[in-house]
Symmetry: C2
Subunit: 256 residues, 2 copies
């Protein structure tokens, strides 16, 4: 049974890519087989693994727009059991071309379902900062929506639109879509961060992961080295916290 | 002569909205008449001025999609000489509907040109974190593209795509489009920030504003109060730095 997790938030800069990469690497360390799919035109996930996005010939946009088989676009990374489907700027055109097709929101899900057997325990989907056709494909394919959220006003406000979208996706294409909020980039010394963090927990209760990811500048450095944090600085706070998140997620996956 | 400034960066969370609002408010303090146009489906600029995005009846999406006259969508804010054209989630559909029309990239420019005389010294355009149809409209309408950039790897990398887009817009619809990079959210104590800041200045030289905006938590608080930083905490570092930026921009506008 493969767990498919969409990492999405319309708000920009909340650590979607950092979470997809770090969590994926931590799951691999815990013995899981993981596929990361970069669905963002910025291709930051592809870049953070040391690839030059412009050079990738088969990418996630080929899977979405030209329906090439999913596994034709995957590549092995330097990390055993961590595979990647890269992205490049061409996927931006999916926002324009996909919505005219009937059933366009389930293109990704159907391409994943065609792979039998699926050689992964987890598939993580890094989404762009928008709630368009690409993100809809991710939410329709996902078992769980992981919503990285900064403890700041604009980011907390973005949850309102996201809850509306979850309801719509559950009605139209994915009845069992669950969600969990992950508080990211937290500075415990900051009063605004503390206040909004408290508000998120009281508003969403169980809907917020217990694990919190705090500010750690090593997470800014690791993409420069083309390595996930678990390889770049294995003992740093960010690496430890993403490992704790991986444990919490595996517990969650067992229970559901 | 009205100066039209697009505030854009594909990278999310680099202070596009914070810059549009703070710079706009600082220009008004310096005696300028300013119109802010919210072009983002998140409507954070609308929210930060104390409006509820869902309640706005005529918005920027009416201007772009239904070609209603620009001034039908504007409203006065509590701050004299600072007007707003609000946004809401409906503008997201512009990414799908606009590109099928010929000349779709100049819809915004043409709607601004129809207003005679234009009662503003500056128009600031807050863009979504994407390089799609909405951002193309903003770049085609602008005299200057202001690119808020964090001194971090993904944000610096995003400049590569942006430079390509500037070349394309200059060839297709706006020969004189100029750009300036604004370094935002800088933490001078952080080594990665210092290194990447130095690299940006040596790579782009004159293309980077002298003014730098440093990290200031009061900038996180002011949207909660529905006020720009110049009204919320007039003496704080963020307010001072955005006033210095306003001066530098007015100097630039005089010379060009
Ligand atoms: N816990 C952390 N501590 C410090 N910096 C962080 C942390 N998490 C992420 N960052 C940095 O913050 C910036 C934003 O993170 P990231 O790019 O992963 O967010 P995103 O949500 O994927 O952005 P986008 O909306 O552009 O896709 C990056 O420069 C990243 O290196
Ligand atoms: N100089 C600063 N110091 C501290 N916090 C800041 C600063 N500038 C912006 N912020 C905060 O950082 C977050 C990101 O800023 P903002 O939302 O303006 O970026 P954006 O580029 O408009 O994001 P998006 O890509 O989602 O539109 C916000 O929570 C904002 O309050
Ligand atoms: Mg990202
Ligand atoms: Mg914004």
């Amino acid at each position: 049974m493969t767990n498919i997790i969409a990492v999405s938030n319309e708000k920009g800069g909340v650590a979607k890519t950092t979470t997809t990469l770090s969590l994926g690497a931590a799951l691999v360390e815990a013995g899981q087989r993981v596929l990361l799919i970069d669905l963002d035109a910025q291709a930051n996930l592809t870049l953070a693994l040391g690839y030059e996005p412009g050079e990738a010939d088969t990418t996630s946009s080929n899977v979405l727009i030209e329906a090439i088989p999913l596994m034709n676009a995957h590549r092995k990374t330097d990390i055993k059991n961590l595979d990647l489907i890269p992205s490049n700027a061409r996927i931006e055109s999916a926002e324009q071309f996909l919505p005219v097709r009937t059933g366009y929101t389930t293109i990704l899900r159907r391409s994943i379902e065609k792979v039998k057997p699926l050689p992964y325990d987890y598939i993580l989907l890094d989404c762009p900062p928008a709630l368009g056709a690409i993100t809809l494909n991710a939410l329709s394919a996902a078992d769980l929506l992981l919503i990285p959220t900064q403890a700041e006003y604009f980011s907390a406000y973005a949850l309102r639109n996201m809850m509306g979208l979850i309801r719509r996706v559950r009605e139209e294409s994915n009845t069992n879509l669950a969600y969990r909020i992950l508080v990211t980039m937290l500075d415990r010394r900051n009063r605004t961060h503390r206040n909004i963090h408290d508000q998120l927990r009281s508003t969403f209760g169980e809907g917020v992961f217990n694990t919190v990811i705090e500010i750690d500048t090593k997470l800014r450095e690791s993409p420069i080295a083309g390595l996930p944090i678990t390889r770049y600085k294995p003992g740093t706070r960010g690496a430890v916290q993403y490992r704790v998140l991986a444990q919490e997620l595996m517990e969650y996956a067992k229970e559901t």
